[in-house]
Symmetry: C2
């Protein structure tokens, strides 16, 4: 069984491996990948063993075989579709960002309440009025929902997505979503992350000043 952290790390390794492949690197040692991913080499070896990959002491792991093996776990044989709700500044930025990034995972439908934003194609994705959310998600068999609506709308939108068949949510709205236990929610809480960065920046700054004085 794979944990959330395990899946997260495999996704990170794959991104790094694509980078190595582009640089025409054919083999990689666990300690190299570990240093790029900022984890331990033992961790890398455990994670890769779980997708059936063992390196050799001399050459390490074959980069393209690793990418393939991680893909067998992370990707579906058929491309998987996601729905995005809320085509504001952030929503359109995400449509652009994810467009063509992963062949096996694409935003297949976007929704908004604003009539000016719908019934057109944006960054390769068709935009629908939000009233059609539940039916479109069901018809297109989408299992992943990206929530980029204001906090006050997010819970209702999450419920409509789940009714349509969504089982995984990526939530950018600054609020907690309350959904059934068998629906996975990944929160992207940008205000919290910025406040954290600001807090630890101040702490490090104080420490540095204290070192300079002493």
């Amino acid at each position: 069984m794979h944990s959330q952290r395990n899946i997260g790390r495999l996704s990170v390794y794959r991104r790094l491996l694509y980078g190595l492949l582009e640089a025409r690197t054919e083999y990689v040692h666990s300690h190299t990948l570990a240093s790029l991913a900022e984890v331990t080499a033992a961790q890398v070896r455990r994670d890769l063993m779980a997708v059936g990959c063992c390196g050799t002491p001399r050459r390490g792991y074959a980069v393209s075989f690793l990418i393939e093996s991680i893909g067998e776990l992370l990707d579906t044989p058929e491309p998987q579709g996601a729905a995005l709700v809320g085509i504001g500044n952030l929503g359109s930025a995400l449509l652009a960002y994810f467009s063509g990034r992963r062949p096996k995972l694409a935003i297949m439908a976007a929704f908004d309440i604003d009539p000016a934003k719908v019934n057109r194609v944006m960054h390769g994705c068709r935009c629908y009025p939000v009233e059609k959310l539940e039916n479109t998600v069901r018809k297109k068999d989408l299992r992943v929902g990206i929530v980029t609506v204001p906090a006050s709308e997010a819970q209702g939108i999450a419920e409509a997505l789940v009714r349509g068949g969504v089982r995984g949510l990526l939530n950018f709205a600054p609020t907690r979503l309350h959904v059934a236990r068998d629906v996975f929610v990944e929160d992207m809480d940008m205000t919290m992350s910025l406040e954290k960065a600001a807090f630890f920046a101040r702490r490090e700054d104080r420490k540095r000043k204290a070192r300079r004085v002493s």
Copy 2:
């Protein structure tokens, strides 16, 4: 000493408390806040004790006093400034998103390589050419940097921010940043998060189908 998770939770509580305040709720019990934040009541009480707040069994905690106490830890007496680098789709979305959200924490300068995007004000924030990054960050005494440039540029930008005095980074570029140990990095890895949501959505979907069959 506050851990990363501790600071993250306090930031979440504060956002929820602002919501309660808007709804004119004056007192809140730890179990109510716990259920909103999806943590245990014991966790809430521990976290709040660490900022010097104790509720009473009858009325719970005074909402406005809690907000104030959390603010004393998370905020500076003086407003704290952040720099954003990369005014693309995502960068402009973040400028709009953070504009006016926290009085004590604001993006005070944005940078881009594109001459068409600089020497103007966007969502209340002045935009500069990227050559002025290090000097402007130093002159404005900014300690937090938000990185929204492509992966290939991110490391160089992070180094320039750190040379200018930044001690906390919020990184949206899909790459690991290698900086000095005393610089805090919070990664916002959207591809990883979407892949995680997709993986667990599939798993829950399979489980649900298995239950239906059996």
